[in-house]
């Protein structure tokens, strides 16, 4: 079985100047979204002004490391953050504002217009109901159909996501299924009402690679069936490369680079993106070269220092970077944007030009060697 060509043909050109934003093709529009959590240590600024748009049928990837705010952004859109979270800005699903809606109003949109797939399928399914019941429930909430029809639809949905013997499996409880199967059930529930947007938050992170391949192809099938746009949130650049049209790179609660998947992977112009790509061990490159890690750790989101949040780890940081935080600005007409004062200098840069393959303190190591 080969699934080499699984992508939806985008119905419209993916890229366009941001001024044409408010056309009817935009299914999800996030505008200057901020999320802050009050804690004992102070305010955690998890998301600090994120704006992006997703067009009909398009697949957008959001990459970033743990704590970069990539999940919080989408949880805010879904209205799933705890009550303590302070949210400002706006998020519109098909033009309708969802930030600040009460639960009853949100329930009409969730599942119907926008649905979400979480990382851990065992906690997103209810252990005391059969998967068939949970699928039928998703259908019944938004459609005025009989129970029998909903159950029939449940079997159909399981078949679409590639679960063998769906007639029997509808009667299974989540614990009776393997991790990959559970995640496919979650995908089936997410696509049950033909949503316009599916947000998948690390959908394959807990799974083995061969199962990951199965789940990703189920996700592609779901998109083909429903024509839904996809927001794929992951830390895995490999998964991003194969499954999206555009990529947003997040760091410390902000987008730091945004562009088409080819621009991000072949022509990145933000040091953090370059650093991420240089950190990856790659199967398709000759062996023997050292990786180029990014030194240091991501900043605490409680007391962010002024300036660019990446400056302390950035090999090309200059005094200006520590004073003024760069905004996400377009660097060409196709919509490739970066948040870096010195993006222009990074045209055609390779990770190895910036980052050094530093690993250990050479003097200390030779001293240790002498001791033994």
């Amino acid at each position: 079985m080969t699934t080499s060509d699984y992508r939806n043909e985008p119905e419209i050109a993916i890229s366009g100047p941001p001024t044409e934003a408010r056309d009817s093709d935009v299914v999800l529009e996030v505008d200057n979204l901020t999320v802050t959590f009050p804690t004992e240590d102070g305010l955690v600024k998890a998301v600090r002004g994120v704006s992006y748009q997703v067009r009909r049928g398009e697949a957008l990837g959001i990459v970033g490391e743990s704590g970069s705010g990539k999940s919080v952004t989408s949880l805010a859109v879904m209205g799933l953050l705890p009550k303590t979270a302070r949210i400002t800005g706006s998020a519109r699903v098909l033009g309708e504002e969802v930030i600040g809606l009460d639960d009853a109003a949100l329930s009409k949109i969730r599942g119907k217009r926008i649905s979400m797939i979480f990382q851990d399928p065992l906690t997103s399914l209810n252990p005391v109901y059969t998967v068939g019941y949970q699928l039928a429930e998703a259908v019944l909430v938004h459609n005025d159909v009989s129970k029998q029809a909903a159950e029939k639809r449940a079997v159909e949905l399981l078949e679409i996501v590639g679960i063998p013997y769906p007639e029997q499996r509808v009667h299974a409880y989540p614990h009776e299924l393997s991790g990959g199967m559970r995640q496919r059930v979650v995908i089936a529930i997410a696509m049950a009402n033909d949503p316009d947007v599916i947000i998948a938050d690390e959908p394959t992170t807990a799974l083995d690679v061969t199962v990951q391949a199965q789940v990703l192809s189920a996700l592609e099938t779901a998109r083909k069936e429903t024509g839904a746009a996809l927001v794929l949130i992951t830390h895995d650049l490999g998964v991003i490369a194969g499954h999206v049209d555009r990529v947003n790179v997040m760091y410390a609660g902000k987008l730091v680079e945004s562009g088409s998947v080819d621009e991000i992977f072949y022509r990145p112009q933000m040091p953090y993106t370059l650093g991420l790509l240089g950190s990856l061990p790659r199967m398709d490159e000759a062996r023997g070269a050292r990786l180029t890690p990014i030194l240091g750790t991501p900043p605490s989101l409680v007391n962010l220092p002024p300036g660019c949040p990446f400056a302390p780890r950035c090999p090309i940081a200059k005094p200006q970077c520590r004073e003024e935080e760069p905004a996400l600005l377009p660097i060409n007409e196709s919509g490739h944007s970066t948040a870096c004062h010195f993006s222009a200098e990074l045209e055609g840069a390779k990770p190895g030009d910036l980052f050094k393959p530093i690993a250990v303190d050479a003097d200390a190591l030779s001293e240790l060697e002498e001791q033994s």
């Binding site: 080499s4 199962v211 990786l291 890690p293 303190d361």
Partner: protein, 356 residues
Amino acid sequence: MTTPPVPAQTSPEGSQTKPVLSARNLVKHFPVRSKGLIKRKIGEVHAVCDVSLDLYPHETLGLVGESGCGKSTTSRLLLNLIPVTSGSVYYQGRNISELSHSEMRPYRRELQIVFQDPYASLNPRMTVFEIIAEPLRIHGLFADGGRQKVRDLLQVVGLNPEHGNRYPHEFSGGQRQRIGIARALALRPKVMVLDEPVSALDVSIQAGVINLLEELQEELGLSYLFVSHDLSVVRHIADRVAVMYLGKVVETAPVEQLFTAAAHPYTQALISAIPLPDPQKERARERIVLTGDVPNPINPPSGCRFRSRCPKFANQLSEADKQRCIEEEPALIDRGQGHESACHFAEARELVKLQA
């Protein structure tokens, strides 16, 4: 990297160098017990079945496979951390699998392990200094300049020696994994078992730890058994690779050969399933998607254990050939691909094109 003398043949007979650690026919069964008061034994999980491995000096042997394939159990058997059901482990010619706890102690100095989860493997109530000093104290080596040794170790793994009096929770995941590595290095081991040492880390942090491990190996002449599910990391760091499936080694090969000429259908599926961080290649790639899930190790399939998911078995083989897969367990031998694989119908395939 100083390339270690990788023997052309993977069997010890054909090479000049002797393996530093070798396992012969390792078997580990875990009992499955009934619920209730009297926990009768009602079955056995066949976690590791007849695994033989050789680790040569200065070499990194990658042990890869998916969850539940027995790779971590194998690594613990190799260090005699859990008793074997049968089989033996030889360290420098001596069978260590039958040694008692106290007899094992001198060998522990030379055989160390780094665990996957840097949050669970460091005692939260000990300072970093004490964590690294503990092995030195246990082996009576602390009195002889131990304080300085710990400081040096911290510096070697890229941590500030001034931070010795801090506690593990004050460090990030990557830093904690460095503490775990410093602790393993404290007794100057010859062999280190690295059990998924970078799986819990973010990519930008992971790269630093991988570089550290490579550099330590070069400078200190360590031998690594690198257990991982991540084939791209293994390809980067390992010299030879053994692929496990459901308690058995299904293929072993020098690392380049495994990726350019994988012979076992499982290895092929595994390699083809790894997403490449390259959009154009990723779109054009041939992908082998396996059906189904790993069978229950309490009752593994007869004959070839992979046949229940094997695309070759399902789509290409004739009935007579299939019968062979069902009845006869394939041996781990070279079938003309230049390395060993456990498939009756092994056929080399190139699944990753190297960049020109």
